[in-house]
Structures are given as C-alpha cells and as structure tokens.
C-alpha cells in the first residue's frame, strides 16, 4: 500500500516536472514511463540510510496535498501538481527542497538520456 502510493507519487512527480519538455505536444509516454522507472530505481540505489527518510518525506508530501485538496497528489490536475511542486521547491525547509531537487535532476537527466537519438538532437537552433 505504502509502496504503491510512493510509486504513483514519484511517477506523477516526474510527469509534472517534465511538463515544460512536452507542453503543447503529445508526450512520449514510453520515455516518460522509463523516466519514472529510472527515478524509482535510483531511489532504491541511494545510500541505505537515506531511503526510508526519503520515503517518509514523500508520504508527508502526499499527506500535505491530501489535507490541502482532499485528493491524492497523483490524482490532481497537472496545474495543481506543478504549483505544489513549486511551493516545495521554494520552501525554506531544506528536506522539502532536496526532495523536489532529487526528482527534478533525475527526471531531466533521464528524459534526455532516454530520448531516441534523433529526437534528442535539437529541434531547432533558434535562440529563445
């Protein structure tokens, strides 16, 4: 039960964190699933004494979301999820910031790492 909640939350986090990458287009769900699996695998690889605290922070994240919205994080709308993420990102508490930063780094690293070679190369060279 706790594990499946953790897995669902991590997947939803990765999907939400990567929204700027696929905004306005059909997301490549194959790659998104690979990203979520990678994030979960990396959690199981991290130093053993950090795994449980990380899970607990995640459960607190779910709990806080539930108190604020009456729904679980992964059942929320994308916009709502992104605003929760942003508020944790800017939190004064470092465990909150670290939790988001951890998944943010893994999501983006693997998003580019798992792209098929062609689409990984720049779509356009126009400066933003």
């Amino acid at each position: 039960m706790i594990d499946s909640l953790f897995n669902a939350t991590v997947s939803a986090l990765c999907y939400s964190l990567l929204e700027p990458a696929y905004k306005g287009t059909e997301p490549n769900t194959g790659v998104l699933n690979q990203v979520a699996d990678f994030a979960l695998d990396q959690h199981s690889r991290m130093p053993d004494f950090l795994r449980l605290p990380f899970k607990l922070v995640c459960l607190f994240f779910v709990f806080e979301t539930f108190i604020l919205s009456g729904t679980l994080f992964h059942r929320q709308t994308l916009a709502w999820r992104r605003s929760r993420i942003q508020s944790w990102k800017n939190s004064k508490l470092s465990p909150k910031r670290d939790f988001i930063k951890f998944f943010d780094s893994l999501a983006w690293l693997s998003w580019y790492g798992f792209q098929p070679q062609e689409s990984a190369s720049p779509a356009s060279l126009n400066a933003k």
């Binding site: 990396q42 690293l109 998003w111 190369s121 720049p122 779509a123 400066a127």
Partner: protein
C-alpha cells in the same frame, strides 16, 4: 573462478580502481599469489556509452547519488566496478605539483617524496598508460575556454590524457580515441600474471587471523554468500570513502576518516551564438591554470542530459532540447583546506560523509564565477546559466553582481569528482594514518594504497598522483621483502 568460500593467498588487494589495479598487477608480476576483491561488476568499456545514464546505473556507486552532508551539501560520485573511477573518468593527467609534494614532506613528514624521488614513478605511469595530447584539434567548447583565457592573458593549456588514438578512417577526426582505463591496462596484466579477480564481492571487515595473517570477511553481492580470505598481507584500495569506512568498521588504525579532502566545484552552462557542440564531442581537454591551485577552470561533459542538469537551477532544463548544439558546461574547481569526516552508521552499509566548506571558500567561489564568466564572455558566450538556485541567466558582465549576491551556501550547487586524504601518509603520527609508504602505523602487513593516502588535496586531477604513489609503495614493499 574459485567457488569455495574460504580462500588463502599471499596478498589480498581490496578494490580494483587505479590504486588497487596497479598494486595487484605489480605484486602478481613479482610472483606473488594475489586475490583482487572488487565490490562492483566486471564490465568492459564497451558495455555502455561513456557518460551515459546507463553508465551511471551500471558503474557508479549508488547510481551516482552520494551526498556529503554540510552547508551546503556537496554531491560526489565514485566508480563501483572493476577498474573503479578509471572506467568512468575523463582521463585528464597531471603529476602532483612540486609545491604540493614539498608541503606533504614538511607538514606530514612524508619521506622520499621529492620531485626527483617521484620522477621515475610518474614517468613509468605515463608510459604505461600512454599519456599524451590529442593528435587532432580539441573539441570546440574546450577551444572556447582556451581562447577566452588566452585573450585575458591567463595561462591555459591542453591537458594530456591516458588515451590511445587508433587510426580509424570512419571517424571524423581520423582517429578512434581509446581510454586506457584499468580494464585495458593493469587488469589484463594482473590476469596474465596469474592473479585472481573476485568481482561483485564486497569486503565488510578485516580481522587478525592466526600466525600474523589477516582475515578478510566479504560477501558476494548477488548470492549473499560469505567469502573469507586469509592473506599474509592486505592492501586496502577501496577508494577515498570506502577505505576509511572499512578500517573504521574493523576498528583498525588511528587518524582514519577524519581528514577527507575534495575539490569543491561549481558550474556554469554557457550559450554561444554558433554551433559548438556535437553528438561525438568527446572529452574537453583544456584547463585554465593561471590561479591554480586555489582556482582552476575547465570544460565538462556537455551531452544534452548534462546540459539539462546545468540549466536546472535557472529552471530552463527544457532549453537543452532547443539549444544543446550551442551550449557547453564549464566548471570552476577550488582547493579548500576544509577536512571532512567519514562515519560508519550502525546497522547500515553506506557511510555518513560530512564535509563543511570554510567561510573563505565562498569568497573563492565568487571569484571563480566572476573569472569563469569573464573567460566565457571573452570567448563570445551570449548567455550564462550558473548552477545557483533561482538565478536568471546572465547576459553581460554588468549583470555579475546580481549573480554574486546569490552565491550563498543555501543556493549554490556544489559537487566534486575528486576525493582523497582520509588516511594520510607520513611519519607524523599525530595526523597520519599511514607511514611514508602506505603501511598503517603500528599494524603489520596492512597497507592502504589509493586516493585516501594522499596527504591533502593535490589541486589537480588526482589519478596521476594516486598511481605514482601506489607504484612507489608497492616497489618499496617488494624491496623490503627482498631485503628481509
């Protein structure tokens, strides 16, 4: 491979990174019966693409997630496979700078470590690892750094690497660069000399056996089967963090794990108006050494995944999809006098690493951001994305004060790939764990021969120092045995 769980040998070497691989090979070539124990898997270089996400999961310790706790946290990475860090690193080679050797002799009473005394060990390593400069033009991001620094009148140079360049007409450069990691050099030599490798097996504790031998208690990672190795001599070469951890767990030695040093590093991702980055970019090779050892600059891996990480703090990771061909990652590396601590946590396998930067280090970081930005703007960069949380990209030198105001511990991303010195060598027993040749003070037949033996941060890429000292210590060991 042997299957029984009890093994006997003359020497057990724990860890097969640059320190362990050269130790094991030289001992086996001298005719000794050597077992080389390695926690990670035995994978060839071709198993995965260099600097890829797959490589992180297959060859890095903890998948590359290893923080040192302090303000700020410093993230570090280490190799965990046969060959250790040499299988995943960039191959940039330096000798230990003369001023550093001098300070080690003075401050740690390290014997026989003058420039002249060390010369043959460095020279031999350079020949055996084919240390050389590139026979073709360096990658564009590397040249950008060089041009910017040179225009400012600062010393910048191409750093030689342990690479062989095989002629290959299918490559754009006409050469296939082949990294001379341990699985290509000392591991094959070790096996050819009759040595035994036991991979996927972690040493957990060292105990004194009977008849002045040592017992190494290890566990095979997949089967969880215990293996006990009885050896006359043990060389611990498990790297800068795991070597002191193993000693602490075994309650052996003094001054162990309390003096960890590293090269704290900050990063900037630079955007240029023209294409400078290609899929087959390879490893950038220039470094700016004008302010070394206090501060050095270089260019790091700049594939889209690593560019995205560089852009993360300014919340622009998606921009890597659009502009990766015009971008590259650069770093400023400092030499800090801070010393960290490694502790063994009861009930856990992984160590707690604590490291606190000193107040002055943030002044040097600010200088690093300023000077690196100057170099990059001088070489034509149009936008810089510093790895400082919440800082918007910087488009001109006038905007640097805005960046510098945010360079504070809670916002600055600090990382390192160079760790050492948690078991320093030298005759000063008040601060050294090892004697001048790597033997633990007052413990017979037990040695450390890896990056943890370096007395302090060398201020340059460390593998050259690790291997030269490891060679020196093994030859000293063999010579002492011969005399005895």
């Amino acid at each position: 491979m042997q299957n029984d769980s009890r093994k006997t040998c003359e020497v057990c070497v724990i860890g097969s990174g640059p320190g362990g691989a050269i130790t094991a090979a030289l001992l086996a070539e001298a005719g000794m019966a050597v077992i080389l124990l390695e926690e990670g898997p035995f994978l060839s270089q071709e198993t995965c693409a260099p600097f890829s996400v797959q490589e992180m999961t297959m060859k890095y310790r903890n998948g590359g997630i290893t923080p040192a706790f302090g303000k700020p946290k410093v993230t570090y990475v280490e190799g965990c496979c046969v060959g250790g860090g040499s299988e995943i690193n960039s191959g940039l080679y330096h000798r230990t700078p003369p001023a550093v050797l001098e300070s080690w002799q003075k401050e740690f009473a390290l014997k026989e470590a003058s420039v002249q005394a060390m010369e043959p060990y460095f020279a031999r390593c350079e020949a055996e690892l084919s240390v050389s400069t590139m026979p073709y033009s360096a990658p564009a991001p590397s040249l950008k750094l060089h041009q910017g620094a040179t225009a400012l009148g600062w010393k910048s140079m191409e750093i030689p690497r342990w690479y062989k360049y095989e002629i290959d007409s299918s490559q754009a450069s006409g050469y296939l660069p082949v990294r001379q990691s341990m699985t290509r050099t000392f591991i094959p030599r070790f096996l050819a000399a009759g040595g035994t490798i036991i991979a996927d097996t972690k040493a957990h504790r060292l105990l004194r056996g009977s008849n002045a031998t040592w017992e190494v208690n290890a566990l095979q990672k997949k089967s969880q089967e215990p293996i006990n190795i009885s050896a006359e001599h043990v060389f611990i070469c498990a790297g800068a963090i795991q070597t002191p951890l193993l000693l602490l767990r075994s309650h052996l030695g003094s001054n162990v794990g309390r003096s960890l040093q590293l090269h704290p590093t900050i990063k900037i991702t630079a955007e240029f108006p023209e294409v400078i980055n290609t899929k087959d970019l390879g490893v950038p090779v220039h470094q700016v050494k004008e302010f070394s050892p206090r501060l050095s600059f270089g260019c790091s891996i700049s594939s889209p995944p690593y560019l995205a990480l560089g852009l993360l703090e300014s919340e622009r990771a998606e921009y890597a999809a659009v502009a990766s061909q015009r971008m590259a990652n650069y770093y400023a590396m400092i030499t800090s006098s801070a010393r960290g601590r490694i502790s063994s946590l009861p009930g856990y396998d992984d160590p707690l690493v604590r490291y606190n930067l000193q107040e002055n280090d943030f002044r040097v970081f600010k200088e690093g951001f300023t000077k690196l930005s100057q170099i990059l703007f001088e070489s034509g960069a149009v936008r810089l994305f510093p790895a400082v949380q919440g800082v918007a990209p910087v488009s001109s030198p006038d905007e640097l004060p805005r960046l510098l105001a945010s360079v504070v511990p809670s916002k600055t991303n600090v990382m390192t790939i160079h760790l050492f010195s948690a078991c320093p060598m030298g005759e000063d027993k008040s601060k050294c764990a090892l004697n001048s040749f790597g033997q633990l003070h007052d413990l017979k037949n037990l040695y450390v021969n890896d990056s943890s033996m370096l007395c302090s941060a060398p201020g340059v890429n460390p593998q050259g120092s690790v291997m030269a000292f490891a060679r020196r210590n093994v030859l000293h060991f063999l010579e002492s045995r011969r005399k005895a």
